[in-house]
């Protein structure tokens, strides 16, 4: 019972943050809504026993990505383009159609047969052992590191000021 209540409250926080992201007039408020939604997702991870991912979510998303978005918001005059252009009336329709189709698919699948949540807990030790002890995830892990390096170099190259000679 208390589980359901906790889940409902967390879900409400996540959805409220997401709605603020989409609907807020000012981009700055949208970024704050994004922070709320991402922290809510971290709480969802905690309820699922994914402790390591919850910590990573707070560190990377709430700490890193949100700050990045704040920088982008403040470095660009992104609030000056508030008006909605024409021709976007179909956007809510497509989102609702997607939701209905996905709901139909989920309802007709056998997800409910999975039953109760398993007792597995994603601590740092457990996830680290899965990534390093089984050989399947070692190469992807190193490749992600390489990808992050490439992304960092690319971002610096793209964002730096052109030097006029």
């Amino acid at each position: 019972m208390i589980d359901s209540l906790v889940f409902l409250v967390i879900s409400a926080v996540v959805i409220a943050g997401a709605v603020v992201v989409v609907m807020a007039e000012r981009i700055f408020h949208a970024v704050l809504g994004l922070a709320l939604a991402l922290l809510g997702v971290a709480a969802v991870f905690v309820t699922l026993g994914a402790e390591f991912l919850a910590v990573i979510q707070v560190l990377v998303y709430a700490g890193g990505v949100v700050v990045l978005f704040l920088f982008a918001t403040m470095l660009t005059k992104s609030d000056l383009q508030l008006r909605r252009p024409r021709g976007d009336e179909l956007a809510p329709v497509s989102a609702v159609v997607f939701a209905i189709v996905a709901l139909f698919y989920v309802a007709s699948s056998g997800f409910a047969e999975l039953g109760e949540r398993g007792s597995v807990v994603g601590t740092v030790k457990n996830v680290g052992e899965l990534i390093y002890d089984l050989n399947i995830y070692v190469l992807p892990f190193e490749l992600v590191g390489l990808l992050l390096l490439a992304a960092m170099v690319g971002a610096i190259f793209l964002a730096r000021k052109e030097v006029v000679k």
Partner: protein, 101 residues
């Protein structure tokens, strides 16, 4: 009534729909990138939920990779945004019509 995997999948679906709506309806590049982050988080919720209910950690390992790639995507996307803003003085994608400058 206990919380089943269906509830988590439903939450992920709702979050993905909101993100898709934001991506389609907005022409502000910053808001579009934020909507993409919402959709990636919806996928992560599904991964972790199934990982937890199936009783193994593979979904959580996948979600960790997803988070890393999402961070890289946000960094490069916002760098492209800053370069665009420097050239066009706007982040409204409706007004950015040329690739060559």
């Amino acid at each position: 009534m206990s919380v089943t995997v269906f509830h988590y999948v439903f939450l992920g679906m709702l979050l993905f729909s909101i993100g898709a709506y934001g991506l389609l309806s907005s022409r502000n590049a910053v808001r579009m990138l934020m909507s993409i982050e919402l959709m990636l988080n919806a996928a992560n919720i599904n991964l972790v939920a199934f990982s937890s209910y199936l009783g193994n950690l593979h979904g959580q390992a996948f979600a960790a990779f997803t988070i890393a790639i999402a961070a890289a995507e946000a960094g490069v996307g916002l760098a492209i945004l800053l370069a665009l803003y420097r050239n066009f003085r706007t982040v409204n994608l409706r007004e950015i019509k040329e690739l060559r400058w």
